[in-house]
């Protein structure tokens, strides 16, 4: 059941590189990451790739397969025709370290800036009560495995390096949405969203949602609701008029 493929894999570092072709045999059921491992074990022992769980749960093996941002461990080889040439390149938005590994520290830096959870006081009996109906919505956001494919595909930073300081990216918005919609949180992050996280840069072209391996509805359930909350605070003409009139 094995079939041969040509894998065009990017080899290089920050100073540049090139695609190199490897002929590999793929057994039934293999995923792209298996094939990369086969190349490592037999043809290029120093081929750099980042991976951990190989089960779509840790979000380490992000790459672009035939130009599409995907997890290598969740892309089965039977998606492709035998004999086909498959291009594997590193995610583009972050500086390359080596081969398929990029420096994703941008995302960790952004995470540091997000205002933390601030819970309201406990119930009179000393417990915390939250209901499944309220928690459901936020649990969707907690599914995020931080593969950063949404950050990779987002044209705001992918194609515009200069926006990086101003824009926190879809992953951060998912996190911010989870905090803003937490049933017991009482921090207001709307000013942060508008001014620091650059929510306005998002033009809701939905690529983040398209590539999310966890199927999180990033645009519809996180970003747009956040935009609406910002509208509540800043773009409501009635509120604006009242503030003008009362001289606030």
């Amino acid at each position: 059941m094995a079939s041969e493929f040509t894998m065009r894999v990017w080899r290089g570092d920050i100073s540049g590189g090139e695609f190199k072709d490897y002929r590999v045999e793929a057994q039934e059921g293999m995923v792209v990451l298996d094939v990369i491992h086969t190349i490592q074990a037999t043809q290029a022992p120093d081929l750099a790739v980042r991976w951990n769980c190989k089960a779509g749960k840790c979000g380490s093996c992000s790459a672009e397969i035939n130009g599409k941002p995907r997890l290598m461990c969740m892309t089965r080889m039977n998606l492709f025709e035998p004999g086909e040439t498959i291009t594997i390149s590193p995610i583009q938005t972050f500086p390359l370290l080596r081969d398929l590994v990029t420096d994703v520290s941008f995302n960790y830096e952004k995470a540091k800036s997000i205002p933390a959870l601030k819970l309201k006081a406990k119930e009179a009996d000393g417990t915390r009560r939250m209901y499944q109906d309220d928690v459901d919505r936020v649990q969707e956001f907690h599914k995020c495995i931080e593969c950063f494919l949404c950050q990779d595909v987002c044209h705001v930073i992918r194609d515009h390096e200069d926006n990086k300081p101003e824009f926190a990216g879809p992953r951060s918005f998912v996190r911010l949405a989870s905090l803003e919609m937490h049933p017991l949180d009482e921090e207001d992050r709307r000013e942060f969203l508008k001014s620091d996280a650059g929510l306005g840069y998002c033009n809701i072209t939905k690529c983040c949602t398209e590539v999310c391996p966890e199927g999180i509805h990033i645009t519809d359930n996180a970003i747009i609701p956040l935009k609406e909350r910002v509208v509540d605070a800043y773009y409501d003409p009635v509120v604006w008029l009242m503030n003008k009139l009362t001289g606030k």
Binding site: E28, G29, V31, P45, L47, N52, R128, M130, V138, H142
Partner: protein, 601 residues
């Protein structure tokens, strides 16, 4: 020192490993006011804790009022076949509820009961529904919560940094030495105290649920500086790993499938677990399918389904069914929830299992059974620690989580791992911080020693032996899988010892291509040292323990030996470079706790 040759950082406490235990330790140490750093091999938040699915065991009593720490303690000890360190099991059962509630304070959102409290689910070996959970991705929730809390507390995190040696000043530790994966450059951490939280050893086996990181680093680092290891022969094979396709063989299928109503069947459709109820668990296990099915709804009047016997029992049963020719097409058994629960329920309770099987095996678990078989999952043994403080036998060195031993005895119950990480992660961080606070002066590693280590680590580049590290690794995995697997026997274990010795020689000849920057070949060559050390330790223990107990089954000694091996830990210690083994009595349980076991018989 200004004239350090390599990049150097100085801390009061460094924590090696950033899974649940490491993160919890770092949070506690930092909160105690000492300068703390967290060092991890991967990116932050990718550690194996993320793979934990089922839940966190804690007697919160949200679902069953009858539950309490004593019941949890008893379940843990009995599940561990009484080889556990009783004091650890007691602390664990007592403190787990607080640790879970603390996670909620930090932002974790567990599934809820109707009255708005944390919902708890059934799991193997737990008398009551006890596991706080989030669908089947509890580990992700836990690691993300801890990660974000640690980030907001401003703890320094060093990612993709691989610690290879611990440094000593006299008989106590004073730092760690390793390299950045990104650049391959060396780095020294000077530190008054060190917490090891490096996880397990699963990558020594071929079929494992563990990721590449689980190479026994902490166990080896500790042994190399003279710390005791115990129970290294106790390896848990999780009964349900994926068996097909081959490339995903070993990936975990959560026990939650059975906790939520799934059942194991052989190729004849028989629920074979009813044939494998041992006397030890007979009194508390259902005898008929009717009783087993009724138990899910009513635990007071029915006994637990044998599908949820402790993992060692289920793994052996599956192994026996397959050997008897009643296995599934790809050499496992069938795990069926599709015919027992609605598609909607399955998708809600087990979303990531649903996704995993659909994507990786083209199987829709709401319609078809899964094929599952045992997979190397966890090591109960590891670094010996003092129960209350998580201190190892080396001053300044602490250990928590899977790398530490004692809590789980001969077999770990599902759900007890995440609570272990929280309870003992916190304790390790707390006592490491206290130790550091009481220590005067600065840690001062020996520069010559560091230089020697640096040369050792670079050896694979200068070697012309021509061995490929990947080939050596695969040979080790075959050896451990075939000779030190679920069922062991003296002749095979001896053969394994010979093979491991020859693999050590081959490792000395490993040659690495390319340069130091993000070079997986070199990284593996270095990890192989710890893999081989732990493989050797496990095999030594397995050969010595001439009985069957929990995660250690000897074909040539099929029953337990309560009079000898039931009373001792096998302790491994490095002496003059070689591991040596000794027997030491288990800590004696006080009488008031002993009573808990007598009344139940």
């Amino acid at each position: 020192m200004a004239n350090d040759k390599y990049e150097t950082h100085e801390y009061d406490v460094i924590v090696i490993g950033a899974g649940g235990a490491g993160l919890r330790a770092a949070i506690e140490a930092s909160a105690a006011g000492v300068k703390t750093a967290l060092i991890c091999k991967s990116l932050l938040g990718k550690a194996h804790t993320v793979m934990a699915e089922g839940g966190i065991a804690a007697a919160l009593r949200n679902v069953y009022q009858e539950d309490n720490w004593k019941v949890h303690f008893r379940d843990t000890m009995r599940g561990g076949k009484m080889l556990n360190n009783w004091r650890m099991a007691q602390l664990h059962a007592q403190e787990a509820p607080d640790r879970v509630l603390e996670l909620e304070e930090w932002g974790a959102l567990f599934d809820r009961t109707k009255d708005g409290r944390i919902l708890q689910r059934d799991f193997g070996g737990h008398r009551y529904a006890r596991l706080a959970h989030v669908g089947d991705r509890t580990g992700l929730e836990m690691i993300r919560t801890l990660q974000q809390h640690a980030v907001h507390k401003g703890i320094d995190v060093y990612m993709e940094c691989n610690i290879q040696r611990l440094l000593k000043d006299g008989d106590r530790v004073c730092g760690a030495f390793g390299y950045w994966r990104e650049s391959g450059k060396f780095v020294t951490f000077k530190s008054k105290a060190i917490v090891l939280a490096t996880g397990g050893v699963g990558k020594a086996w071929k079929f494992t649920s563990n990721s590449w990181e689980y190479t026994g680093d902490g166990t080896t680092l500790a042994a190399d500086v003279g710390a005791d290891l115990i129970d290294m022969e106790m390896i848990q094979f999780h009964p349900t790993g994926m068996v097909w396709p081959n490339s995903v063989r070993g990936i975990l299928v959560t026990e939650g499938v059975r906790g939520d109503g799934g059942t194991l069947r052989n190729s004849e459709g028989e629920r074979f677990m009813f044939n494998y109820i041992t006397d030890y668990f007979r009194a508390e296990t259902a005898e008929t399918e009717e009783e087993a099915d009724a138990w899910y709804e009513d635990k007071t009047n029915n006994r637990r389904t044998p599908d949820l016997l402790p993992r060692d029992e289920v793994a052996r049963a599956i192994n026996a069914e397959v050997k008897a020719g009643r296995g599934s097409p790809h050499g496992g058994v069938l795990l069926d929830i599709a015919s027992r629960r609605s598609a909607e329920y399955i998708a809600r309770r087990l979303p990531s299992m649903h996704h995993q099987f659909k994507e990786l095996a083209d199987v829709d678990i709401t319609k078809e059974p899964m094929e599952v078989g045992p997979t190397c999952h966890y090591i109960m043994g590891g670094v010996r620690v003092e129960a209350d403080t998580a201190a190892t036998t080396v001053p300044g060195l602490y250990a928590a989580g899977e790398v530490a031993a004692g809590l789980h005895g001969a077999n770990r119950l599902g759900g007890n791992s995440l609570s272990d990480l929280l309870v003992f992660g916190r304790r390790a961080g707390l006592y490491a911080a206290q130790y550091a606070q009481n220590l005067e002066g600065h840690p001062s590693p020996d520069a010559d020693q560091i230089e020697q280590y640096a040369q050792e680590l670079l050896a694979p580049f200068n070697n012309d032996g021509g061995e490929n590290p990947y080939t050596v690794h695969m040979a080790l995995q075959d050896c451990m899988q075939n000779l030190v697997g679920i069922i062991r026997t003296e002749s095979e274990l001896k053969k394994a010892q010979t093979e491991i010795a020859s693999l050590k020689e081959r490792l000395a000849k490993v040659t690495v291509e390319g340069h130091r920057q993000y070079n997986p070949g070199w990284n593996l060559a270095l990890d192989l040292q710890s893999l081989l050390t732990t493989a050797e330790a496990t095999t030594m223990g397995a050969l010595e323990r001439k009985e069957s107990r929990g995660g250690h089954t000897r074909e040539d000694h099929p029953g337990p030996d309560p009079d000898k091996y039931g009373k001792i830990n096998l302790v491994l210690r490095r002496k003059d470079g070689e591991l040596s083994l000794s027997e030491e009595p288990l800590p004696e349980m006080p009488d008031d706790l002993k009573e808990l076991f007598e009344e139940s018989k």
